[in-house]
Symmetry: C2
Subunit: 327 residues, 2 copies
């Protein structure tokens, strides 16, 4: 019982030195978005302020694709799923007749993204079912260890946006619990979220289907099925936040119209002070440039229009970020 508090004390002293020694948002230029987030954090952590928010209620939610890492030339999980499709297709002859599979085998992936990404979710569900959760995580791990992004020539999990990693750490250092709330599959993101983002699996909310428990000869397993698909996107995001977190966030970070509803849910008539931020992809040179003409996922029109009225801070990636990726 005594070892822990002592450790805490040492840790607190260590944190104190770190806070003095390093600049928490070093990859952000000193422009209005950085100033806005720092002002918000200062306000809600000031115990003397009427805007003070107790640590337990400091919930921050982050979209993943396009907010914490890129979503071009296609969402990274789709790249994984297409590789899995190729690998498993010889053993799964039934798949050949599936319209989504046919679309996935053509050069033009746009049909997969139509109708609220219906085909994309179908491919993800198909390639992510019929195996145990452990087998699936092993496949994701193996893919991350070998696959590389076609443009940046790096493993996908080395493409997290450096300014956003700093923002996650900054919020946590100020008592926030940081959650991912993404249309991506929870089981996919949980493989790397702790290592890459410092977000533990229990703070990852994503799309999912049911798993079925079995006690096998060699131990208990959970088999991934395609049943009861929950799509954690658009109006599904506030629903997912309620179901998995059970309280209203006070800070929300997104980049597309898929994040509109969770931005609303976080900031409109929230009894607590709240903060909304949109990452606008304005940097075709260092990353990608898109909004209404998104190349894959990430269409941004309605949320950008709403931003001034709602007080959401828009990050102009080109001007507001000194670095995009870690060197």
């Amino acid at each position: 019982m005594q070892r822990f508090p002592l450790l805490g004390s040492l840790l607190a002293i260590a944190l104190c030195s770190t806070a003095i020694a390093t600049e928490p948002l070093a990859s952000w230029r000193d422009t209005s978005p950085k100033k806005a987030v720092v002002a918000f954090v200062n306000k809600i952590t000031d115990e003397k302020s009427s805007d003070f928010v107790p640590p337990a209620e400091r919930i921050a939610v982050f979209d993943n694709d396009g907010t914490l890492w890129p979503e071009n030339p296609m969402p990274f999980q789709l790249a994984f799923s297409l590789d899995e499709l190729k690998r498993r297709l010889p053993e799964e002859p039934d798949w050949k007749n599936d319209p989504a599979v046919k679309a996935a085998q053509s050069d033009d992936l746009h049909p997969l993204l139509a109708d609220d990404y219906k085909g994309l979710f179908r491919i993800i569900a198909l390639t992510g079912s019929g195996m145990t959760t452990v087998e699936f995580a092993d496949r994701v791990r193996a893919w991350l260890a070998t696959a590389k992004h076609p443009r940046f020539d790096r493993p996908y999990d080395q493409l997290a946006y450096q300014p956003m990693l700093e923002l996650l750490a900054y919020l946590r250092a100020n008592g926030f619990k940081t959650f991912i709330v993404s249309g991506g599959g929870a089981d996919f993101m949980r493989v790397f979220s702790e290592r890459v983002y410092g977000v533990p699996p229990e703070q990852v909310v994503g799309s999912n289907t049911r798993v079925v428990y079995e006690l096998r000869e060699d131990g208990p397993v959970l088999v991934k099925t395609m049943n009861d698909l929950f799509i954690d996107d658009k109006a599904g995001k506030p629903a997912g936040i309620h179901q998995f977190i059970g309280r209203r966030p006070i800070a929300c970070f997104g980049n597309s119209d898929g994040d509109l509803q969770m931005l609303e849910y976080t900031t409109i008539d929230n009894p607590r002070p709240s903060f909304g931020m949109i990452i606008h992809h304005t940097d075709a040179e260092r990353e990608y440039g898109y909004d209404k003409n998104a190349k894959s996922s990430g269409k941004l029109v309605a949320a950008l229009e709403e931003a001034p009225r709602r007080g959401w801070v828009v990050v102009d990636m080109k001007n507001d970020w000194a670095e995009v990726f870690a060197p």
Copy 2:
């Protein structure tokens, strides 16, 4: 940035004094269950031991009804739902023809508990839908403020087992994240879990149905529906653990066959050291006495039979607990 670490440092010193001053499991008699849990915690927190488990992986899961508070004469949420049924029935004429509603209005509630509590879940879903999540939480709060347990004549939320409150606090003081994993409704438990158990809403896994997001004139709401009922009981518990927590627990506390599968999932072939505990209701005088002949929920046969083979610790409530409730 500097205020927090200093606060942490002070907090660490405060915690240190508390640890020296108070006995963490004061309401447990000095019998084998207490010794077993302390030995397990000492082992997995000892950095020099090969059994050391890093804090991030110290996940403990607790059943609620019959494990953290009583489940007699009926599960407390059923008591709430029956009161709600009475209140809402005049406005919901369609409900009168529902077989579960008919059963609920009779004196014999056993039909509601038959067939894996099908009728019970129907009543809970019916009375917990067609309103916003905020309205539902307000109803639960109002009920807890007025309703009293028929035998103990206390508000229901003052009937948490004192030894289990101490156990929750003891595990948290040793770096565990404590989760509730219960057949009860998540939205019901989240109203009091933080205040009563110190378990925040985001660490409550329970039965649930979908909510639907709406942006209304007076702000965003989530409407509770009866769709996609997930029953977090029996084989649903390991499924719920995976879906909501996303990693395997190392400690599991239950009291009935509804907890058998999560005990298995926690302890069988776990690559980490693990611990399972069953609360056996042997104390008809201070609480209730039941196992195979459960009066409401809480039948305990298979898990009790498995306990010796699996190394699960069985708590004999009468002998192992010095106190059952806080005075």
